[in-house]
């Protein structure tokens, strides 16, 4: 579809975009690139100049606009909450428009408050009595109230501070695993797009698509320099977020318990050919790094517990973290090696740069095999 405004340049240019059911598609690009216009054409806040929008195979222009919109959830940046209505009545807006009885609509509103992680005691408050993050959650609850299959979100998290924004993004991901709505989200923040999107549509200025792809492939195979510049210089490292650490080949030496001796530690270091030894406590949790050079002058039977060790930075959890977390742990480790732990915090093994690199290459190759050609757009 295309949207032209009289006397202005083209807002959306011959866009062809298919949003799969139950997936989150993020429209991202510089300001004025037509991403918001695209979003608004879906619920007829803007009508396309050419082309059409199909919802479940049906042209949206065949529906009465008000009726159509009640079936599509909508969340906007400044929340757009109704200041004169309590939280519960805000959330109940669409059910009430659909003719529900007030008591039933309010009961539904309270369920939704819980769903978006808010205390139902907030139901009787007015929007001005809530924090920015709470208001934004109410906005999401309001959009979900009539259980629409489609959710449109226009820069939903841009007006809150970074910490709240991250928690709202996590909340959206959690909700999506539960609800599986078809979501179209607009943002100018590529990090947000990569974090929350199943697919990312990156726009060029003047309403053309540059690349429509999974976040992983957008980072790994940008179609041109515009895309790679937009994605950012550290896209290689960020892409590691999509590779899991679970299959990593970890080393189990040199790791010694705090009740062991200097002689055993030095022999473990020698066997592994490593200058740094990881000392664990009696539970098997990391206690600190010891350089072999510090142990050499000490008597062989000195208990390791008596030798001060260096801090171990932070660890990565093998079962749940990504290669990015593993790399980060390696970079911050004084020994240059990352400590992998299990879900209880016990040391599972050590990861060197060499083995990390081998794992990255293997993961890249697997990703390439899965889908060989980037889905580029005509420019």
């Amino acid at each position: 579809m295309t949207k032209r405004y009289p006397g202005a340049s083209v807002a959306v240019d011959a866009l062809d975009l298919e949003v799969p059911d139950g997936k989150t598609v993020v429209l991202v690009g510089p300001s004025g690139c037509g991403k918001t216009t695209t979003l608004r054409m879906i619920n007829r806040l803007v009508e396309p100049t050419e082309g059409r929008v199909l919802l479940d195979g049906r042209d949206v222009r065949q529906s009465n606009p008000a009726q159509l919109r009640r079936g599509i959830g909508y969340v906007i940046q400044q929340t757009g909450l109704f200041p004169h209505r309590t939280v519960e009545d805000n959330i109940a807006t669409v059910p009430l428009l659909n003719g529900w009885r007030r008591a039933k609509a309010r009961a539904r509103a309270r369920d939704l408050l819980k769903l978006v992680g808010l205390d139902p005691a907030l139901a009787r408050r007015y929007p001005y009595q809530l924090s920015g993050g709470q208001q934004q959650r109410v906005g999401v609850a309001r959009a979900l109230a009539a259980d629409p299959p489609v959710l449109l979100m226009d820069e939903p998290f841009s007006a809150v501070d970074p910490v709240i924004r991250a928690s709202l993004q996590d909340e959206l991901l959690r909700l999506q695993t539960e609800l599986r709505k078809t979501v179209v989200l607009v943002t100018h923040d590529i990090e947000e797009a990569i974090k929350v999107g199943d697919l990312v549509a990156l726009y060029r200025p003047h309403g053309r698509l540059a690349q429509l792809d999974t976040p992983q492939r957008l980072l790994g195979m940008p179609v041109d320099s515009y895309v790679s510049d937009f994605v950012g210089f550290d896209r290689g490292i960020r892409r590691l977020s999509f590779f899991r650490a679970v299959g990593l080949d970890l080393q189990t030496q040199p790791i010694v318990g705090t009740d062991s001796t200097v002689a055993k530690a030095l022999s473990a270091a020698r066997d592994a050919g490593q200058p740094w030894i990881l000392v664990t406590d009696s539970d098997g949790k990391p206690r600190g790094w010891l350089p072999a050079a510090r142990l050499a002058p000490l008597a062989d039977d000195t208990p390791l517990g008596n030798v001060p060790s260096d801090g171990f930075g932070h660890t990565f959890t093998v079962e749940t973290d990504s290669l990015r977390a593993a790399l980060d742990a390696a970079v911050l480790s004084p020994a240059g090696r990352a400590i992998g732990v299990d879900s209880t915090g016990r040391v599972a093994g050590l990861l060197s740069y060499d083995r990390l690199q081998a794992a990255v290459q293997a993961a890249e190759a697997a990703a390439q095999d899965a889908e060989p050609e980037p889905r580029s757009m005509p420019t």
Partner: protein, 210 residues
């Protein structure tokens, strides 16, 4: 100041006060009823706003006495004459208030209402007008106070109000009457204003007063 005059003329003073209250409040309320549709239309259709505002400004520029006299051929020396004139004056305050009130509805709220699936009329009645209420009521407070004060001019065409005390006091060189009239007009205006503040609080519990 002759307190014996005050105590001896209680029933007259009470009657004049009631007449003033009636002549002051009724035009402001009629003005409110007329202004709401006019103001909404002017806020919605941009071209309609300049002519409406020009007309109300011209009305406001008219001397009140001239307007009372101009209405005599049609309405005579009656309460109706004063009520019509003061209603016209109250429009000068109320119409701009309604326009500003409706335009003060935040754009994201308007957009959200449309996107939720409100029809235009329902959005106006259930979202935009409630949100315009504080501004409209602020205008009504000014309109009521100013029309209470203008009732006394109506006395010049013989329509009874506290204005009687000014004219009678002047003619008889009896300042007590003038002081009493002045004090009661101020008290009446403050009382009406207080009532409207209460109305606003009751209607807009959602407004952030911090």
């Amino acid at each position: 100041m002759s307190w014996s005059w005050v105590s001896g003329n209680g029933s007259l003073i009470w009657q004049l006060t009631r007449e003033t209250a009636y002549l002051g409040v009724v035009p402001a309320l009629i003005g409110l009823v007329i202004s709401v549709p006019l103001g909404i239309a002017a806020a919605r259709w941009r071209w309609f706003s300049p002519p409406v505002l020009t007309v109300v400004t011209i009305i406001y520029a008219l001397p009140s006495l001239a307007l009372f006299i101009a209405l005599i051929p049609a309405l005579g020396l009656s309460d109706t004459n004063v009520i019509v004139a003061l209603t016209l004056f109250s429009l000068c305050i109320m119409v701009p208030s309604v326009i500003v009130g409706v335009r003060s509805v935040p754009e994201p709220v308007r957009q959200a209402a449309t996107a939720m699936g409100y029809s235009e009329l329902r959005q106006l009645v259930q979202v935009e007008l409630p949100l315009a209420t504080p501004v409209i009521l602020a205008g009504l407070r000014v309109a009521v106070v100013s029309s209470i004060s203008l009732t006394s001019v109506g006395q010049l065409i013989g329509v009874s109000s506290l204005g009687y005390l000014f004219i009678d006091g002047l003619q008889r060189s009896f300042p007590t009457e003038i002081y009493v009239g002045l004090a009661l007009i101020i008290v009446l205006a403050l009382a009406c204003d207080l009532v409207l503040v209460g109305v606003r609080r009751a209607l807009t519990p959602w407004a952030d007063r911090s």
